[in-house]
Amino acid sequence: MSESGSDLDATEHTALMDGHIAEARPDRELAERIARKRKTKSDNQRSYGSVEQIEGGPSGASIAQQPRVPAAPVEPQIEELELKYGARHVIKLFVPVTLCMLVVVATISSINFYSVKDVYLAYTPFHEESPYASTKVWNALANSMILLCVIALMTVLLIVLYKKKCYKTIHGWLILSSLILLFLFSYLYIEEALIAYNIPMDYITLGFVLWNFGVMGMIVIHWKGPLRLQQAYLIFIAALMALVFIKYLPEWTTWAVLAVISIWDLVAVLTPKGPLRILVETAQERNEPIFPALIYSSTVMYCMAAASPAPGAAGERELRPLQPHGTVEGEGRDGTEAGGGEAGFDAAWRERRDEGAAPRRLRVDSAPPRYVTRLDPPHAPPHAPDLDEEKGVKLGLGDFIFYSVLVGKASSYGDWNTTLACFVAILIGLCLTLLLLAILKKALPALPISITFGLIFYFATRSVVKPFADALAAEQVFI
């Protein structure tokens, strides 16, 4: 028992999210396994164990039900445990999300560069320069639809590549994008930060620092490194990407994009034929981690096991987020150089989109891996020893990016009330999503609730609360 259990665990880590696959298995076997697992886990006093199991049951209602039969008395306890476990992880996610937003808000409010509009992405051909509101509206909508199409296209491309097992291509793509993000975008960021703070700097020191920073990032993201450092790099990358979006998207397009993206997220994750869902299912079938680099995990992310097929995947994920940044910057910089810049953009955008889609979901990983293991018994054993545990809630880097875009955009108008309102709204949305996660036990899109709340709070605060507060202040009325 214990042996099989450990094997399962190991595989679990590899596999990601929801166990759609689970449905494929014979229910009988599943039920038995789960029942056994529960027992072992409780014996081991693994607090997360309960969560894993349940989550494993995830998409398949059948699975969840099956275990109940054998372990009926344990149910309420398990649910309680789950909730507690969930709550702990909510808090764990709050910290990185807050940090990411803090970086973005701090940058926006201290470095002018990111709130000045001069150059735009090639994907947004309409620049909203007309004085008429209606023109601006259709400009913004057209821009966001173009972006959406690019994202969808990129996602499909990625899935095709993944389905055809072109790991080398995907890997190369991801590494390239992370290179661009870690070196080029960081370079731009440092330049603007130094200018803003008026700090003298020479090329030798700059080169040395950038080289160290970038290479360490590549090692940590695509190979092995301390978890904290990896998380820090992922947060920084997400913040950088968010800054790029804020800088290079026209005013109203940013808001339209936020809305459109959260709808896309909903569709891509929840529809039976949604691209992201297909991606997840394929990865599970192959018993591989899905783009670990694109996902922030509240605990250990990935592992040595990568040696076999997994490593590429991890790299990919990370890269995707990075690429988008890279592209954007290229565009901004080149501005007129449409050709090269655009090509770069496309790739970046796609990646970003892909990334966004994949990462956006919240997942509980542990359960699905088991399913995977069962499906591919031969593969599982070799992987198991090397793999680190993947437990806890995962949040896609894309979610980080778009949360930060919203808060950063709100702060770029210089009103702290609005910024705080958006911040709180997003965290509440995240809580609700996590609550739903505990109830539904399957991969969920993290953007829709948070972004909806964020948008409502932003416009409400800006058009209602702020004038009200101003009037109160002017009249010296204190509530």
């Binding site: 330049e191 130094l194 003298p200 020479d202 090329y203 030798i204 360490m216 090692i219 992310m301 680190d388």
Partner: protein
């Protein structure tokens, strides 16, 4: 990566490869190596590979320290002498601070 789940021989390999990578003018990697393996090298009860890990950690620490000294020295020299170096100083400058009113 979770170090505690790694077998000792893998730890040694990892520590060694970090040290080797650090030789490419990457003191930051050395510094990370020191922080990451400090516990395994000095605090954990003795095991076979510990001696070698300790060696790599100490070498990394020395290397990172030396680089830090070099960098600080260079920055001090550059900042104090930029003007007197004339054209060379200007060519080396990435950001020249603006004066304040």
């Amino acid at each position: 990566m979770d170090l505690s789940k790694l077998p000792n021989d893998m730890k040694l390999q990892l520590c060694k490869s970090y040290f080797k990578v650090g030789c490419l003018f990457l003191p930051f990697v050395w510094a990370v190596n020191v922080c990451w393996f400090f516990r395994d090298a000095f605090i954990k009860p003795a095991y076979d590979e510990q001696k070698l890990i300790k060696k790599f950690v100490i070498m990394s620490a020395i290397g990172a320290f030396v680089w830090a000294v070099i960098l600080v020295t260079w920055i001090t020299v550059y900042q104090t002498n930029r003007v007197s170096w004339g054209a060379t100083g200007d060519a080396l400058s990435f950001i020249v601070p603006l004066g304040r009113a």
